[in-house]
Symmetry: C2
Amino acid sequence: MENRPPDSSVTGDAPDASVTADAHLPPLDEQQVNGLREVGRKWAARMPDRDGLERVLPVDPHLTYLVDQPAPRSVFVSIRSQSPGDGDPEDIETTPRAGAADSTLGRAGYRVRRALIGPPLRSTAIAEERMSRLLALPVLSPDALSSVAYGPEAMMAVLVLAGSAELKLSLPIGAVLVVLMLAVGLGYRQVIRAYPHGGGSYIVAKDSLGPTWGLLAAAGLILDYILTVAVSVASGVAAITSAIPSVTSATVPLGLVVIAVLVCGNLRGVKAAGALFAAPTYMFVVAIALVVVVGLVDSAMHGFHAVPPPPRHATEALGVLLILRAFSSGATAMTGIEVISNSVPVFEPPEADNARRTLTVMIALLVSMFIGVVVVAYLEGIAPGSETVLSQIAHRTLGSGVLYAYVQIATTAILLIAANSAVNGFPRLLYFMARDWYAPMAFLRMGDRLAFTAGIVVLAVPAAIVYAVFNGQTEPLIPLFAVGVFVAFTLAQSGMVAHWWHHRERGWRRALAINLVGAVLSGAVAIIAAATKFVEGAWLVVVLIPLIVLACLRIHRHYQHVHSQLMPGADATLAVPPARPSSPQSDGDGHRPSPEEQDAPSEIEHLVVVPVAILNLPALRALAYAASLQVPVLAVHISPSEEEGKRFHRYWKAWGAYLPLEVVVSPYRATVAPLANYIEALHRQRPDVTLTVIVPELITARRWESILHGRIAERLRRILIRHEAIVVTSIPFHLK
Amino acid sequence: MENRPPDSSVTGDAPDASVTADAHLPPLDEQQVNGLREVGRKWAARMPDRDGLERVLPVDPHLTYLVDQPAPRSVFVSIRSQSPGDGDPEDIETTPRAGAADSTLGRAGYRVRRALIGPPLRSTAIAEERMSRLLALPVLSPDALSSVAYGPEAMMAVLVLAGSAELKLSLPIGAVLVVLMLAVGLGYRQVIRAYPHGGGSYIVAKDSLGPTWGLLAAAGLILDYILTVAVSVASGVAAITSAIPSVTSATVPLGLVVIAVLVCGNLRGVKAAGALFAAPTYMFVVAIALVVVVGLVDSAMHGFHAVPPPPRHATEALGVLLILRAFSSGATAMTGIEVISNSVPVFEPPEADNARRTLTVMIALLVSMFIGVVVVAYLEGIAPGSETVLSQIAHRTLGSGVLYAYVQIATTAILLIAANSAVNGFPRLLYFMARDWYAPMAFLRMGDRLAFTAGIVVLAVPAAIVYAVFNGQTEPLIPLFAVGVFVAFTLAQSGMVAHWWHHRERGWRRALAINLVGAVLSGAVAIIAAATKFVEGAWLVVVLIPLIVLACLRIHRHYQHVHSQLMPGADATLAVPPARPSSPQSDGDGHRPSPEEQDAPSEIEHLVVVPVAILNLPALRALAYAASLQVPVLAVHISPSEEEGKRFHRYWKAWGAYLPLEVVVSPYRATVAPLANYIEALHRQRPDVTLTVIVPELITARRWESILHGRIAERLRRILIRHEAIVVTSIPFHLK
């Protein structure tokens, strides 16, 4: 693995899971720095007259004239090195204004962005963009906690198929689910312990089991994040539309607006998003506590005798399969548990401690709320029907007044923002994948509010599409839901088992046991969910997960391949360049490196080609520019007819014929393709010569005017740039 | 009018209305050639060492190695000057293969084009692409002749509103229309006489009355051509769908297919299109002759006593307005008369004679067919109804057998191809307008089959849109139809009146009289049509014509403006360049010309800026390329953090630090905008220095891979090229 990404870690040390602004410019390793020295020696060896390069610059690159007059609207400021002794030259720094693009449209876009997501944040503000435990809990837990609103109901909806008498089975199945929650929750506490710098299922599985297993976990999570957004928004909007039926026809646009608000909120950055979404989570916890406590008190007054549920006829026989389906439906209550372990770096220091405590609180809340809802539903004799279970419980315990409305509003709100945990977790996952070269590098870049713009957008678009394609309906999406997340759970817990086995730190046996239980239980749930819901849609997930893994591996191979070609010090570049077929006019020296392998100035032999259509001022300027470079210049004219060609020769002489000219008559009237073919023919004569084609480009004052001038320059550039060793220089001529 | 297009003629001589392949590269006038000499003197004056420019080229520009080994697949061949004494160097010429683009997609597109429209044709084949009279008649006349199928009917449909007894008025109104046809036809014969190189309404009106009047005529014709295509295709498809009702639901796609076939046929070139469309025209003429002769013989046997038409109740009173409406509806039979005078250059020599004779034959056919249909309809007592008038006549005279079917098929066919005259005339009109700078230059270019690709496409697209928007219905389009064409007729005839008045050649009095009659009659029809059909849709034409004229004038102004800036010898460039605000660091020499005004090599002072993100091989190659140009070079690194900036300084030193480096820390993480701002700040320091920004561009082997690498190079290029005086050099690095 010579070309592995610089900071991927296969040594078994905990990888650095913190987020930095310069991940797309990673440090070079020793071999690469040596490669740089090698190239430098080539410059030195072939250019003894080093002073030849040290020309006086016509400008002051430090922009002293700007930097020393700091105005309120200045774009650049000076930064002085803190330790003057370290010998680095002083650099300059941009102000936020430098991010504004320099066109009317660009400036307008910049202003809209600023209005929507706020002023840019400095990279050093990452440390400030941390969350206290009180803020982190509501930001990171809605995904997990909100599932209390539909998990128990999904379980009961399966059980009632065997008759309402069998609803009592929700108690033992619920107990198993609680065990599962505790096991997975404890397991993730161990993850935070072992990966104090943050590490979700992907990092843990990759680190302990190998990259492919890590990608498997990542693929499961990617699908889960997308589905979470779609399902949460769908159920939230459904709650709104059932309260205000007149807006039912606007289900899809309403949901898309919610997704857009989530995107903007998250583009504003982590902390701002937290402030936006903190209240509903706490409201929901209070609402559940309210119904559970009132329900239990109510039941206690009846001596805890369960009210029998309304009789229903069985439509299916009670059997193992039915119980397993009920179990895997109930397991949807566990999505979102991994978010905190994934997001350790967003906590205030000490990050790991705060994350562990927050996770403990979240699991405790989840388990209590889950038990409470299941038990009260049993005691009150609730059967799932057209009204949601939670709504029925609230009606029984709180009547139909203000308190009932509060419960429903809180439920709606938390469902709508549950999607937010996904919008938080997804870009972070893709950041880590991109740092390991398993996802496009664009996911490494933080936007000017320190949020991962690309990741947020790439999550929102497919989620919005899924939402729109399914017309904002929840039911058909539920079967797709559990498989991905439990695959990720299983791999994370298995990774931890392997971790403890290799590391054997203090207390490793107990830790290993906890994770082993978690792994076995999660794996069982994953298999049960995939098997019992295969036909209803889980097959799609089973197909997509390996496809995502394959795509990631393909991306990784591409980056490895590119890296070996791009970086000095990689084997390919220090080897002798491959001999090229010598051209008909080659002087036998077929071993000269091709222009794209020439990395010292003295190796480069130039020929500048200037295509000229009309001898107008842009063309004359291009010729003057070419001639001023003091290298051989050839002008080419593509003529539609012999007669026009002769005319052109005449004008060329009138000008003075200072440069060699070749007229190519194109009796079939094409211009761009013959020119490209001619330049390619020149290149084939001497493949070792660097051809620079100077293309005058007319820049009109207004955009619409450009259609009056054709796009020959642009088309020529696009064709030529795909040829090896042909450099294209665009020399603008601005119309007033 | 100093900057008029080189071959626009305001002198009153007949302008050259022939079509050439090099119209986009017009000859320079004396002033412009002097401007070239001026620039050349500047080069000579400031560069006494002329030999400095005459460097030995590393390649043979004449491609001797290719040209002297002519292979069947060769791209270039040599052309020797016929007269070796004229001193011109030998040029090379492309073969048809050179038109093929050099990419997989481009080659595939090229093959599809070849399969659809045939191999490329040499420009010199223009002479061969001429038509004999026998071919020209069917190619150029369907528009005019086919209107016999709906003109009389449109007239009778108005008359019958006053009761079927008033249908007899069709005879006097028809007689007036015949006078009109003869007057306009004779008028256009005079046009051909005065403009033997071709000249339609646009050229005649512009030449004799001034450009604005010419554009008014052109705008009328442009709308008429578009409507002709839409209406002809619509009535042709309607004939098909009434014969085969099961395809009625496919009316719109069927019509679009017909338009596509017309486009392909015409892209194949004029001659091929003629062969495609010759048969139906003659078939139609024979069909009309058949029904008229049989009808007359039939009537003769009854002693020419008219059969009374079936009684209909009058819904409107007979009045002047009704008669005028009937008249202007009948005048739709006259569209298309101007096509031949517009297309003189497509005839075999002697072009003018052949065109005049063909026009005479066409007018004779049109008048006879029109009279025949009107008279037979009267004699047979036909009243317009759900069945077309022509179909009723055919039923009465020929029964319902094979001959009836023949008449209907011929009618359908000619209606479908009537659109073809428009597809022939429209691009030619736009060619002449573009040559006078009133339309985009793109209309000057002939495709590789010698057809005007742009014009054909620009006609087909709005015609297809109009057709689709009106769901392939004819009726709502008819009111839009007559105004444009009669405006053009009127202006052409008025132009001829002015022409004869000024020129007074032999027989000018008679000619003037003919054109005066034509002008007055056409003008009357235009006013009648606009007034009587204003509410039904003619208002749209009345609004659009001036808008088109304004757009053309705007385009002309733009080209004039550009021309004055681009051409050497225009006043702007020989004047002293305007003084620019001197920069803070300027040495007081504020009068140096800006880089875009520097047209001699010695004037140009260079600074090359190389943005470097990572010191990889593409960046090192860009640095080597920059250094090899022997001009001052400055490397710039945009760093997302101070820490990364320090790291970069270290690597720079490891390489050898051969060039000055400026690190700009961008704590807000933007890259492109700060870089553009920095380069702009350098430019403001010394606005007279030419800044060349060298951008390494990674070219991936497969297109999809490019999304893995961002588009920073492309974005940077797009931003920088809009800055004055910043040259952008794209230096490709190809991945294998």
